[in-house]
């Protein structure tokens, strides 16, 4: 079921959050709203749920206007950040709750609920109260409870943020598998870019009530359109460009405080434009003097992180983060060492936010 936000306007007091927001969520896909807190992603999700009504504009479910339809008649499944399991009911009763509201006969409801609990690996816990389960298990119950009513639309409100790192990774693949199996249109809200990249078919990066960029995870990561996206998704190094110099060897040459940089980006030069460079694409060069595309610097801070080593390098263009894979090929640099950074040619030019 395709979901459409049509000319949404919403303000809180004098502060306008959404101005003529339009957004289409494709049918059967996992669509992520990604952004910092206060960007409006949760408000959009709650509009889909029916908890907030926009000041003006329409919300369409499969072409049908549902703007005035109350929550309980929308047929959406929702998973909350704090699980929101009914504390006085057993796991099974929690999952049956929505089925009972739909007047499905008791034994049939129990059967479907048990099947769903089995799917999330918790059928053995059916008779326990929510308080007997761990956070990850509770969120799986919440998932089962939302999916068992076979909703047309599944809303996930930061479902993983209350969990620890290891569980988060485990649960996100389960959520994604369940979503693909059911082929259900899903809107996922998060501020965690890694989660967004890992799970989504499509990401809408939001800032201050606007969708800044819309695209697949790969597009958003490799071709950020503004410095905000570049910084928020994968925290790229942003190097200010002062002017464009004549091309050489098919590469554009750009002047920066750190010297001349090279890129094949097609984005035209304009004032305030920046070069976004991913830390893992920077390597150490073993030359005496910097050539074009190389930046000299001093190692300020070193962190060994197992699979990689991260460095903070002080350069004339500010501090640049470098992530060097720890495969043993590269010598570990030490604090205070003078180094030369080789920037990639395919780094992307981004507009100021």
């Amino acid at each position: 079921m395709q979901v459409v936000f049509d000319n949404i306007e919403q303000s809180y007091g004098k502060h306008a959050l959404f101005r003529q927001l339009n957004l289409t969520i494709p049918s059967g896909k996992l669509f992520t709203l990604l952004g910092p807190s206060g960007c409006g992603k949760t408000s959009l999700l709650r509009m889909l749920g029916g908890f907030i009504r926009p000041d003006s504009g329409r919300i369409l479910f499969g072409g049908v206007d549902v703007t005035g339809v109350p929550v309980n008649r929308r047929g959406v499944g929702m998973v909350f950040q704090d699980y929101a399991l009914f504390p006085d009911r057993s796991i099974l009763a929690n999952v049956c709750y929505g089925l009972a509201a739909r007047n499905i006969p008791r034994d049939q409801a129990t059967q479907r609920a048990l099947a769903m609990l089995k799917r999330v690996g918790l059928e053995a816990f059916a008779d326990r109260p929510p308080s007997a389960l761990s956070g990850g298990q509770r969120q799986r119950v919440a998932m089962a409870r939302a999916l068992v009513i076979e909703p047309k639309l599944l809303l996930l409100d930061e479902p993983l943020s209350a969990l620890d790192v290891k569980l988060r990774v485990e649960l996100r693949s389960m959520i994604r598998e369940l979503q693909i199996e059911a082929g259900i249109t899903t809107v996922f809200v998060t501020h965690d870019q890694e989660e967004a990249l890992a799970m989504s078919d499509q990401i809408a990066v939001m800032n201050r009530g606007c969708v800044v960029q819309l695209g697949t995870p790969r597009e958003v990561y490799t071709r950020p359109c503004t410095s905000f996206v570049a910084d928020f998704v994968g925290s790229a190094n942003l190097i200010s460009i002062t002017q464009e110099l004549p091309q050489a060897n098919g590469l554009r040459r750009l002047d920066s405080p750190a010297g001349v940089l090279l890129t094949n980006s097609a984005v035209p030069f304009q004032a305030g434009i920046k070069l976004a460079v991913r830390s893992e694409e920077i390597s150490f060069a073993e030359a005496e003097a910097p050539k074009d595309g190389q930046v000299p610097g001093v190692v300020e801070h070193v962190e060994f992180r197992g699979s990689l080593t991260s460095y903070a390098i002080r350069t004339p263009a500010g501090t640049i983060a470098v992530a060097s894979s720890g495969n043993g090929q590269q010598r570990q640099r030490i604090r205070g060492e003078n180094v030369l950074l080789q920037l990639p040619f395919d780094a992307h030019l981004v507009e100021a936010a």
Binding site: G77, L85, F86, A146
Partner: protein
């Protein structure tokens, strides 16, 4: 944003409007018209005549200052005893310390009149102690005096100070003291410089609760305070006096009590609560085990307080079985006559009390749950008004409420005076603040998402409330209902104004029997009242885990 979160919720919106209308008609209007009447001079003109006369005639002025002095003295005594006990119990370990935890419940629900009656039996002119001392030619100072009043009322009220200070101490974070100690301060300076300031708001809260209670209380001053008239009693006397019943003086005194109560509530809301510190809920400071003499002293004082608090119950129990000839009690004998009278010959007060309390509690619980839900979960200007209205009865002494109700509902379309409805209404209004408060606590802890989850699963607003919210707040509301029931059973100060022939309640009966010197009969009724109070309370302790924290 007048409607706020109610904008899309017609069902709750209607509930809010009904609740506000109820409070406006049955509380605000009587209160405002009573305050208004205090400004109408005998000649029918608006004026300050009543207040001028009140403060220029020494017999009235004295009443006002008596009230304040009594309030201050009892507050000081309660803080000393209650606060001290709380401090010792929270920070030290010693034998019998746990016994204190059940005390607040007991002292708060034993009716004033019963306590007053039992102390008359023990310390009165013809009392037990004077009986023992008489052969020695010694006589105790009269109980019907300042010291008797302060003594009995302190024993009646210290539990409020105890609970307030204890809650403050329990919410204290141990690491604050540890941090101060680690920075090189000696323990004594830490306690004075760090702990005391953090505790002060709780101490003030306790003091204000006690003070408000004392200036509004009727039973004890009416029985013991013949020589020290206070506002609540004087207003009542002015109300019942057939001859000199002056409506302006009556309403002036009632209004003065309202001003005092409102002033204290504002003080609490805007001065004390603002100073309340937000403390990280950490570990509470460890209790220090006491040994030797200190342990004996601590355990001894605890046992003494427990004994003094329980004494009334014991005394009335014994006396209820004691034969009496007129006012003279023959201790050592045994009779069931008094119970026979109270249960068989004149059981009406018991039925009346049970009937009124049940009605008031049933309506009170429904109203409190709905109001609390609106106040916590549907914030808007409307529910804010409701919040203020349901807090209002805290400022109104029972006698005052009675006078206000009877003035407003004696004629017109709502002529309730002389019916049981007005009595149940007074009980309902008096218990609404604590009822609402008991439901707001668990509602604050209930996450909005639980209700939203229910709605997203296909259940409507009211359905979600019934199926998801009610079960979660059920236990604390159940506990509150029991407390509401038992406290209305012992209501005296509003009842004394509102009751009419045939509608005697238990406290009224006890009060009248004490007044006419039939103490043994008063004790029999007291025992029955205590049984009807403590049975549900004991059950509630088991079922709802009712504890100190849920009271007031």
């Amino acid at each position: 944003m007048i409607a706020g979160k109610l904008r899309r919720d017609p069902a709750w919106m209607a509930t809010a409007i009904v609740a506000i209308c109820l409070m406006a008609i049955f509380l605000l209007w009587p209160l405002v018209s009573m305050l208004g009447k205090s400004f109408i001079n005998p000649d029918g003109q608006w004026g300050l005549h009543g207040y001028v006369r009140f403060f220029s005639e020494s017999s009235y002025r004295e009443v006002f200052f008596n009230t304040l002095i009594l309030g201050a003295a009892v507050t000081a005594g309660s803080l000393l005893i209650g606060g001290g006990l709380a401090l010792v119990v929270a920070r030290c370990k010693f034998p019998f310390a746990g016994m204190l935890m059940i005390l607040p419940l007991i002292t708060m629900v034993i009716p004033d009149v019963v306590v007053a009656a039992s102390w008359v039996l023990v310390l009165g002119k013809q009392g037990l102690i004077n009986g023992w001392l008489a052969p020695l030619g010694i006589e105790l100072p009269s109980l019907y005096s300042w010291w008797g009043l302060v003594f009995v009322m302190t024993l009646n009220n210290y539990a409020y100070a105890f609970v307030a200070v204890l809650v403050g101490l329990k919410s204290m974070d141990r690491s604050l003291e540890e941090a101060a100690l680690s920075l090189g301060r000696p323990l004594s300076r830490v306690l004075l410089g760090v702990t005391m300031p953090l505790l002060l708001p709780s101490v003030f809260t306790g003091a204000l609760i006690v003070f408000t209670h004392v200036i509004g209380s009727f039973g004890v001053p009416a029985i013991l305070g013949a020589r020290t008239p206070v506002l609540a009693v004087k207003a009542y006397n002015e109300f019942v006096s057939e001859m000199g019943g002056n409506p302006q003086m009556q309403t002036t005194m009632a209004s003065l009590l309202v001003y005092l109560g409102a002033g204290l509530l504002l003080l609490q809301k805007f001065v004390v609560e603002r100073r309340q510190f937000q403390m990280e809920s950490g570990r509470t400071p460890a209790a220090i085990p006491l040994r030797g003499g200190k342990a004996i002293a601590a355990a001894g004082s605890v046992l003494l307080i427990v004994a003094l608090s329980l004494l009334p119950a014991v005394v009335v129990f014994v006396t209820a079985f004691t034969p009496s000839v007129g006012p003279v009690l023959q201790y050592g004998g045994f009779t069931l006559n008094h119970f026979h009278y109270a249960l068989v010959r004149a059981p009406q007060p018991l039925y009346n009390s049970l009937f009124l309390s049940t009605i008031a509690t049933a309506t009170g619980v429904v109203f409190s749950i709905a109001s609390a839900y609106l106040i916590v979960k549907r914030r808007s200007l409307i529910t804010h008004v409701l919040d203020v209205l349901v807090t209002l009865p805290l400022t109104i002494a029972g006698t005052v409420l009675g006078i206000a109700l009877i003035n407003s509902f004696s004629s017109g379309p709502l002529a309730l005076t002389g019916t049981w409805v007005i009595m149940a209404l007074a009980y309902f209004l008096r218990r609404v603040p604590s009822g609402v408060r008991s439901a707001t606590g668990p509602l604050h802890n209930l996450k909005d998402s639980i209700e939203e989850a229910s709605m997203s699963l296909g259940v409507g607003t009211l359905g979600s409330f019934v199926r998801v919210v009610l079960p979660v707040i059920g236990p604390s509301v159940g506990a509150a209902a029991v407390l509401m029931w038992v406290t209305t059973l012992s209501e005296l100060s509003a009842t004394i104004v509102l009751y009419f022939g045939g509608m005697n309640t238990m406290p009224i009966e006890i009060f009248q029997q004490v007044d006419s010197g039939r103490l043994a009969l008063a004790c029999a009724y007291s025992v029955l009242l205590l049984i009807t109070i403590f049975t549900p309370l004991a059950l509630a302790r088991r079922i709802f885990r009712l504890n100190v924290g849920t009271i007031e």
